[in-house]
C-alpha cells in the first residue's frame, strides 16, 4: 500500500499514455478512459487523506534512494488536502468537457490527464527541482488545454500566457541554481536545514533564491502585478479547462506555503518576503475587486473573482499563523470549487444566448433561465461571502484569524463591490432578458457537473466544522516544519 | 614542442572562427552567412579535437563526430529554405 502515494501521479500519467496510444478516434473510448482515470483519483485521494489525517508524514523514496540524494514524494496533510481538492474539482470539469467540448480540438483527454499528473506531482514532491519539472508538466499541458478549441481570442490569450510562463520557468531555474549553489542540495527539507547554516555571500544568495521563488510562485498564483494575463486567458479558455484552471493558481499558493513553511518560517531567513507578500496580496485583492465590477463578460468576471480569492488567500498565508493558514485553506477549498462551478455556469449561460455569449448585455434569456438564475444567485452569494454559504464561513474564519483592519476593510469592501458587480450581471443576464428560455433543453450532464461543483458550497457550510477542523489540523502540522524534516531526513534530521 | 604547437594551433583555429563570425555578421547575402556558419561548425571540430589532445582525453571525440555527422543539416535547411521556402514538403 506504500505505493499509493505515487498513484495520483501515475494514474493520470498512464491514462494519458494510453490515450496517446489510441490512434483510431474512438471518442467514447477516450472519454471512458479519461473519466475512469479521473474517477479513480477520488478514492485514491480520499485514501491518502485518511492516511495523512493520522498526522504521520509518509515519505516515498523514488528509485529507493534516500533523501536528500534521491527524489522523495512526501504525503503530509497539506499535500493530501490539495490532491483531494484537485480530484474533486477535476471530475465534474471532465464530465462537462466530455459533452462535446473535447471534440473541439485534438488530444483533449490526453492533455487533461497530463495536466492532472503535473498538478498532483507538484503537490506531492519533496524536491525543489522535481517541483520545477512538475511545474513544467502542468504548464505545457495547460498551454495545450488553454488553446484547446479555436478562435483568435484564445490564441492571443494563449501567447501571453505561454510567454510569461516561459520567462517564469527561466526565473525558477535561476532560483534553483542559487538554491543548489548555496546549500548544495535540492531536497526541500534538506534545503530548509542547510539554509540556516549559511553565512556571508551564500546567505545573501539564498535570500535572493527565496525572493525569486516568490516571484515565480507569485506569477503562478496570479498576484499583482503578475495577474494581468489571467482574465483574458481564463475567460477565453473552454469552460471545462477554465474550471480545472481554478486549481492552477492554488498550485502557486501551495508552493509558497510549502517552501515558506519549511525554510523561511524560522531560522536564518525567517519571514523572508512576508511583508511584501502581505502588501501585494492586499493590492491584488483590491484591484481584482475593481476588475470584477468592470468586467464586460461573465467569464472575465469569474476570472477576476478568482484573482480576488488569490489576494484573500495569500494575505491570509502571509499572516503565517496556524489559525490564519487553517482559515486560508478552508477559503481555498471554497473558492476553488465555487469559481470552477461558476466558470461552467458562465458557459451554460453563454450557450443559451447565441451570438451574445456571456457578454453582460441584455439579450435573449439563457436556456433554463430559472434554474441557471438560481444557481447564479447561489454562486454569487457564496463567492462574495454572504451567509449562509461557505464564502461567509471562510471570510469570518479569516477575519477572526487575521485581525488587521485593512484586511477586514478590503475583504468586506471587496465583497460589497463584487456584490454590486454580480447583481448587475445577474440582473442583465436573467431579469432583463427577453423571453424565457426553457429549462428542459439544458444538457443534463453539463448541468449536473455545474450543480455538483456549486453544491459544494452549502455542503462546506453545513459541514463547516469538520472541514475547518481538518484545515486547522493541516495548518498545525504545517506550523511544525521539524515534523516534515524529520520524516524526510530521518529522525533528528531537523537538528542536523 | 607540443606545448608550443598546441597554443599556436588553438590560436589559429580561434582566429579562423573569428573570421567566420565576421563573415557571418558582414554577410552581405544570406548564402554568405550560411556558408560562414557551416565553416564555423567545421572549425569547431578542429578546436574540439585539439582540446582532446591538450587534455589527453578522448571523452570529447563524440562531440566532434556529432558535428561532422549532423552539423551540415542546418546549413542544408537554410539552403533549402532559400530555394524552396519550405524545407519539408
Amino acid at each position: 500500500m506504500e505505493h499509493l502515494i505515487i498513484a495520483p501521479i501515475l494514474i493520470p500519467a498512464f491514462a494519458g499514455m494510453l490515450l496517446l496510444l489510441e490512434v483510431r478516434e474512438r471518442q467514447h473510448l477516450r472519454r471512458l478512459t479519461g473519466l475512469l482515470a479521473t474517477l479513480a483519483l477520488i478514492p485514491v485521494a480520499l485514501g491518502l487523506w485518511h492516511q495523512a489525517a493520522t498526522g504521520e508524514i509518509d515519505v516515498y523514496q523514488l528509485g529507493d534512494w534516500r533523501a536528500p540524494f534521491g527524489i522523495v514524494l512526501v504525503l503530509d496533510r497539506l499535500s493530501a488536502l490539495m490532491v483531494l481538492l484537485t480530484a474533486v474539482l477535476a471530475l465534474p470539469a471532465l464530465i462537462y468537457g466530455s459533452r462535446g467540448d473535447d471534440r473541439r480540438g485534438a488530444n483533449f483527454h490526453a492533455l487533461f490527464q497530463m495536466q492532472l499528473m503535473g498538478i498532483n506531482g507538484a503537490f506531492l514532491t519533496g524536491d525543489l527541482f522535481n517541483l520545477f519539472v512538475f511545474f513544467e508538466v502542468l504548464l505545457i499541458a495547460s498551454y495545450g488545454l488553454a488553446l484547446h478549441g479555436r478562435g483568435p481570442a484564445r490564441v492571443k490569450g494563449g501567447i501571453h500566457y505561454v510567454v510569461l510562463n516561459l520567462i517564469g520557468s527561466a526565473l525558477f531555474l535561476v532560483a534553483l541554481g542559487l538554491a543548489y549553489g548555496t546549500t548544495g542540495t535540492l531536497n526541500m527539507a534538506d534545503f530548509a536545514v542547510k539554509v540556516n547554516e549559511l553565512e556571508g555571500n551564500s546567505l545573501d544568495l539564498a535570500r535572493l533564491s527565496g525572493l525569486l521563488m516568490w516571484v515565480v510562485f507569485g506569477l503562478k498564483a496570479a498576484l499583482f502585478p503578475l495577474y494581468f494575463w489571467l482574465p483574458a486567458t481564463y475567460a477565453s479558455a473552454t469552460a471545462p479547462v477554465a474550471a480545472l484552471f481554478a486549481i492552477m493558481t492554488k498550485v502557486g499558493i501551495y508552493a509558497i506555503a510549502r517552501v515558506y513553511g519549511l525554510a523561511f518560517s524560522g531560522g536564518a531567513l525567517a519571514g523572508l518576503g512576508r511583508d511584501p507578500l502581505w502588501i501585494i496580496a492586499l493590492v491584488t485583492l483590491g484591484l481584482a475587486a475593481v476588475g470584477v465590477l468592470g468586467a464586460r463578460r461573465l467569464g472575465e468576471m469569474v476570472a477576476y473573482l478568482l484573482v480576488m480569492s488569490v489576494g484573500t488567500l495569500v494575505a491570509g498565508l502571509s499572516w503565517s499563523s496556524p489559525e490564519a493558514l487553517g482559515a486560508m485553506l478552508y477559503y481555498l477549498i471554497h473558492s476553488t470549487l465555487v469559481c470552477g462551478g461558476l466558470f461552467l455556469l458562465a458557459d451554460l449561460v453563454a450557450r443559451g444566448r447565441g451570438e451574445l455569449g456571456d457578454r453582460l448585455e441584455v439579450g435573449p434569456a439563457p436556456i433554463g433561465r430559472g434554474l441557471l438564475g438560481a444557481l447564479f444567485f447561489a454562486g454569487a452569494i457564496a463567492v462574495v461571502g454572504l451567509p449562509p454559504l461557505s464564502g461567509f464561513v471562510g471570510k469570518v474564519a479569516l477575519m477572526q484569524a487575521v485581525p488587521a483592519p485593512v484586511y477586514w476593510l478590503l475583504l468586506l469592501g471587496g465583497g460589497l463591490i463584487a456584490l454590486i458587480g454580480l447583481s448587475r450581471a445577474g440582473s442583465s443576464l436573467f431579469w432583463r432578458a427577453t423571453g424565457d428560455g426553457e429549462t428542459h433543453s439544458l444538457d443534463g450532464p453539463r448541468l449536473a457537473a455545474t450543480v455538483a461543483l456549486l453544491a459544494t458550497t452549502p455542503a462546506l457550510a453545513i459541514w463547516g466544522e469538520p472541514v475547518l477542523e481538518a484545515c486547522l489540523a493541516v495548518a498545525a502540522q504545517w506550523a511544525q516544519p521539524s515534523l516534515y524534516i524529520d520524516a524526510v531526513l530521518g529522525a533528528g534530521g531537523s537538528a542536523l | 614542442m607540443l606545448e608550443i604547437a598546441l597554443p599556436i594551433a588553438f590560436g589559429l583555429f580561434v582566429l579562423a572562427l573569428l573570421l567566420n563570425l565576421y563573415r557571418l555578421l558582414r554577410g552581405p547575402t544570406l548564402p554568405d552567412r550560411a556558408l560562414a556558419l557551416d565553416t564555423m561548425y567545421i572549425n569547431t571540430i578542429g578546436l574540439i579535437v585539439l582540446y582532446g589532445i591538450s587534455s589527453d582525453s578522448k571523452l570529447y571525440f563524440e562531440a566532434a563526430m556529432l558535428i561532422a555527422l549532423i552539423g551540415f543539416v542546418s546549413t542544408v535547411a537554410v539552403a533549402k529554405y532559400m530555394l524552396r521556402g519550405d524545407i519539408i514538403e
Binding site: - | M1, A16, R23, P31, A34, L35, G46
Partner: protein, 110 residues
C-alpha cells in the same frame, strides 16, 4: 613522449590549423560568393584532416595501440561537407548572386 611522435603530432596539427585559417581567410577575402564557397572545403579537408591525423597519432602513442576512431570524423565530414557546399551553390544561383565580372560561363536558373 617520444620526440619524433611529438614532432609529427605538432606538425600535423599546425598544418591543419594553418589550412583551416587559410580557408577562413579565403572566406573573408575572396570577392564573390562563388569564390568564397571554395574556402571552407579547405577547412573541412586538410584543416580538420590534419588536426585529426595529429590526434590519431597522439592517442595511438599514448595508449600504445592504433586508435582509428577519429578517422570517422574525416569520413563523416567527407560525406556531408560536399552536400552543404552543393546546396549553398544552388541557393546562390537561385538568388542569382552577383559574381566577379570576369567569371566565365554562368549559373543555371533554378
Amino acid at each position: 613522449m617520444n620526440e619524433i611522435v611529438e614532432f609529427l603530432v605538432s606538425a600535423f596539427i599546425l598544418i591543419g590549423a594553418v589550412f583551416a585559417l587559410v580557408g577562413s581567410i579565403g572566406l573573408v577575402r575572396l570577392s564573390d560568393f562563388y569564390l568564397r564557397l571554395h574556402g571552407p572545403t579547405k577547412a573541412s579537408t586538410l584543416g580538420v584532416g590534419g588536426t585529426i591525423l595529429g590526434s590519431l597519432l597522439f592517442f595511438s602513442w599514448q595508449e600504445r595501440a592504433l586508435q582509428l576512431q577519429e578517422v570517422l570524423i574525416i569520413l563523416f565530414l567527407f560525406i556531408t561537407a560536399p552536400v552543404s557546399a552543393h546546396m549553398l551553390a544552388k541557393a546562390a544561383m537561385h538568388r542569382n548572386l552577383k559574381r566577379r565580372d570576369d567569371t566565365r560561363g554562368g549559373p543555371w536558373k533554378q
